[in-house]
């Protein structure tokens, strides 16, 4: 088998697994196709996802269903204001041994798993939120003198409610920057409500099967990283990120006026990784500017910090990203 055939086989495998997982999740989750695609893309790219939506839209259900489909160690953390870092990382507890003796043992927290559902993450205090930083970036947890390396694949999927802001602690920029995608979960369409009623109020239970496992997902992640990236796509991604920074020459006027902080280099990484997944799904072996453009909104929307003028004028980060996409053209592009 030539190297090209090997690449074709890996790409085909990736696409098949992606489709299987998506179909399995689709058994439980009705509609929200772009959210499901985004969650799967982030998981295959090796990133974390922040799901934002009002209660009742199936955010938690989506992540729970996904954990069942991919057969990964799943843990759910319901964040509350009185939660402490030791509650999610783990702590030393006194336990009884089999011989009748007792000893202090390390009881690992729910953070140590493969797929983490951080439900209502903005209800936890910044102290507890910060406990996630190391786990999300370095894939390890340090408690006292003990450092626990987390097993791959490791993916944190957090949810937050944009409406009830009382008693919440907005995620700091450092925390937001660690999420590869921020997906907005919207209301389902009218036709989707019928399917929701059929699946949730009927007598039949939906059985979610394991369609893949951790080892396969690790291989798929390596496949994603092997996708070729031409210079044009890379330059386009860099220019997009630069255009989100208000002091940049590439920034459009709206960004210069309404943004106080732009994307970090993590944004470029997210654009390229997300674009690679898009290229594989499109039966291509090299990422293109169109792939970058397709993932620009979920990658960049939470990395732009709006200033007071934007809030006063009700300008959203999505509008700024749209402006950036209009103003920045791929290299060597020809006007229509």
């Amino acid at each position: 088998m030539t190297t090209a055939d090997d690449a074709r086989a890996r790409a085909a495998d990736f696409k098949a697994v992606f489709a299987r997982v998506k179909a399995e999740v689709g058994k439980m989750v009705v509609g929200q196709e772009h959210v499901v695609d985004g969650v799967l893309t982030a998981m295959m790219a090796g990133g974390h996802v922040l799901l934002e939506g009002v209660p009742g839209l199936g955010k938690t259900l989506l992540v729970r269903t996904l954990s069942e489909a991919v057969s990964l160690a799943f843990s759910r953390i319901q964040f509350t204001p009185d939660m402490m870092p030791a509650d999610i990382q783990g702590t030393m507890v006194l336990t009884e041994t089999a011989s009748g003796g007792h000893e202090l043992t390390f009881q690992q927290g729910p953070l140590i798993a493969n797929l983490i559902l951080a439900d209502e993450i903005n209800r936890a205090t910044p102290k507890t939120q910060s406990a996630l930083l190391e786990a999300m970036q370095e894939k390890q947890v340090t408690v006292g003198r003990r450092t626990i390396h987390l097993e791959e694949p490791y993916c944190v999927m957090a949810t937050q409610n944009p409406v009830e802001q009382e008693g919440t602690y907005p995620l700091p920029e450092a925390q937001l920057d660690r999420f590869l995608f921020k997906l907005i979960v919207g209301y389902p369409a009218e036709s989707e409500y019928h399917a929701i009623l059929d699946r949730t109020t009927g007598a039949d239970d939906v059985d979610i099967g394991h369609v893949t496992n951790g080892e396969e997902i690790r291989q798929l992640r390596s496949t994603v990283r092997a996708v070729a990236e031409p210079e044009a796509a890379r330059t386009f991604a860099i220019r997009l990120v630069l255009a989100t920074q208000p002091d940049s020459e590439l920034a459009p006027a709206s960004v210069s006026e309404c943004a106080s902080l732009g994307s970090s280099p993590r944004g470029v990484q997210g654009l390229i990784l997300g674009g690679k997944v898009q290229a594989l799904l499109d039966d291509r072996f090299a990422v293109s500017a169109d792939d970058i453009r397709a993932v620009a909104l979920p990658v960049l929307r939470h990395r732009i910090l709006l200033n007071f003028r934007a809030q006063a004028n009700n300008v959203s980060a999505d509008e700024l990203v749209e402006d950036v996409l209009k103003s920045v053209q791929p290299p060597h592009a020809i006007a229509a």
Binding site: A4, G101, E103, T147, A286
Partner: protein, 513 residues
């Protein structure tokens, strides 16, 4: 492995695509450039008429610089704009550098190939290293053949439009062309034009100009060929006895200059004399001819005096500057006021030049002025010191009108900041009736320290407590708890003493590292 020969297929296709794309892009660029250049048709139409007009105008006073005939000029005026537009478009097209990647991006965009051709070309140029790059190159092969077979859409550029606001330029160019043709065909009519262009000077000024011409001893300039071709009408007018032309010629023959001076020189001389006449009229109009000669001598007089008295000229400037800056001296003050009146100043300078006695008096005045500048300022000019205190009691509405940077905070500024938070009414900081302690005087005396002996305090035993201390709450720990905690801390201590980083032996029964 994909051999190098396998890449020749896509590489060749990509090369042909580049050639095709480059040709197409150049064609589009030519269309676009022609459209842009055509917008400048009317401005380009001005070129030939302007050149013809300028050439014919120069021909009035010298050899004509426009050698073309009327028909040729008209043809040139019609053809040249289009030629200029074509040359401009050609230059734009030739300067257009079409990048190879742009050509490939053209087909990527037209066929919606998502950058396949560009990526394959890049991987081929640098040599594919990974399996996915090999696959990308092979994947681009069918699409490259598709691109070669594809029909490129005809880009419909909008027809070149002449902007409405440039239409008047066409009329202007036609007018200019007509004027140029008239000038070119009727040079005899055009010869009088420069004379007519010059404002008719008054007869007095003309006479004055002739008088000036008498004094000027310029070398004769050879006659120009164009002036030889004066028409017979003008010659006849000049030869008529008693006519104005005859008088002019007679006057010129007396001065010896005649027609040697050009009309420009005449007009400039007349203009300068008109200015001088205006000055004279403002000063002393109606005086005799001797008064009229006075302005002519003025510019010459300082030139004769300056070499003889260079030190005096040097001294004049410091005096004037002192007078302006000082402003205290009597003489300087008068000098400053006189500088605002140029006629009086001129008069004073003429008076200065008359005798040395006036210079001596001026030197005395300078010495007085120097003495006055070193004297103390008058005490009644002193102003009170600016209040720098920030206390509200020092509020005043007076700004620092001197603006010399030495002023304290203004009243407005004092109303801000910490001072604004203080009480508006000053509060006394001492009790009423209490006398002021007065100045405190500190005197230091030199004295060596003297050691003093002190008895040592013996430590005594405080003894033990005899009575009961009362109820102490006791944390009831089970024995196994006490043992566990004691074992844990003993293990911790042993580990610290051993200096090892290993985990305690009592832990790690589950999970963790």
């Amino acid at each position: 492995m994909v051999e190098a020969g396998d890449h020749e297929g896509p590489a060749g296709d990509l090369e042909r695509i580049v050639v095709r794309g480059r040709r197409q892009l150049r064609a589009w660029a030519a269309k676009e450039a022609f459209g842009k250049a055509f917008a400048h048709l009317f401005p380009a139409a001005l070129v030939v008429p302007c050149l013809a007009l300028i050439g014919n105008l120069i021909g009035l006073v010298g050899p004509s610089l426009w050698p073309f005939s009327t028909v040729t000029t008209v043809v040139l005026a019609l053809v040249a704009p289009f030629a200029i537009v074509a040359v401009y478009a050609l230059v734009v097209v030739l300067r257009e550098k079409t990048d190879r990647r742009v050509c490939l991006a053209l087909f990527d965009k037209l066929l919606d190939l998502r950058g396949r051709l560009q990526a394959a070309d890049e991987f081929l140029s640098r040599g594919p290293v990974g399996p996915f790059e090999h696959a990308a190159v092979e994947d681009a092969g069918p699409f490259a053949r598709q691109a070669l077979a594809a029909e490129l859409p005809r880009v419909r550029t909008p027809p070149p439009v002449l902007k409405a606001r440039r239409w008047p330029l066409g009329a202007v160019s036609a007018l200019l062309l007509g004027a140029a043709l008239l000038l070119g065909e009727a040079p005899s009519l055009a010869l009088d034009t420069p004379v007519a262009l010059v404002d008719e000077p008054p007869t007095e000024l003309l006479a004055l100009a002739e008088t000036v011409a008498e004094e000027e001893s310029e070398p004769p300039i050879p006659k120009e060929s164009s002036r030889r071709s004066l028409d017979g009408r003008r010659m006849a007018a000049l030869s008529e006895p008693g006519s104005e032309g005859e008088r002019d010629r007679a006057a010129r023959s007396q001065t010896g200059t005649g027609d040697t001076r050009s009309s420009f020189a005449k007009s400039s001389t007349a203009a300068s004399l008109a200015r001088q006449a205006g000055k004279a009229a403002a000063g002393a109009s109606g005086e005799g001819s001797s008064k009229k000669e006075e302005p002519r001598e003025r510019p010459a007089k300082p030139r004769r005096e300056n070499p003889s008295r260079p030190e005096e000229a040097k001294e004049e400037e410091p005096e004037t500057s002192k007078g302006v800056s000082g402003g205290t001296g009597r003489s300087s003050g008068s000098r400053t006021s006189s500088s605002d009146q140029p006629p009086a100043d001129d008069k004073a300078r003429n008076d200065e030049a008359e005798g040395d006695a006036t210079d001596d008096a001026e030197e005395e005045e300078d010495e007085e002025q120097k003495g006055a500048s070193t004297s103390k300022p008058m005490l009644n000019n002193r102003k009170a010191a600016v209040d720098r205190s920030l206390s509200p009691s020092g509020l005043s509405d007076q700004e620092n009108d001197q603006a010399n940077g030495r002023g304290g905070p203004s009243g407005l500024k004092k109303t801000r900041g910490v001072a604004a938070m203080l009480l508006g009414v000053p509060m006394p900081d001492h009790l009423r009736g209490k006398s002021n302690p007065g100045r405190i005087k500190v005197e230091r005396e030199r004295a060596d320290p003297e050691p003093k002996t002190s008895l040592a305090a013996d430590a005594t035993n405080r003894g033990s407590r005899q009575e009961s201390i009362g109820y102490l709450p006791h944390l009831a720990l089970a024995p196994w708890m006490q043992d566990t905690v004691r074992d844990y801390f003993l293990a911790e201590r042993a580990r610290d003493l051993a200096g090892s980083d290993s985990a305690p032996t009592t832990t790690n029964s589950s999970g963790g590292t």
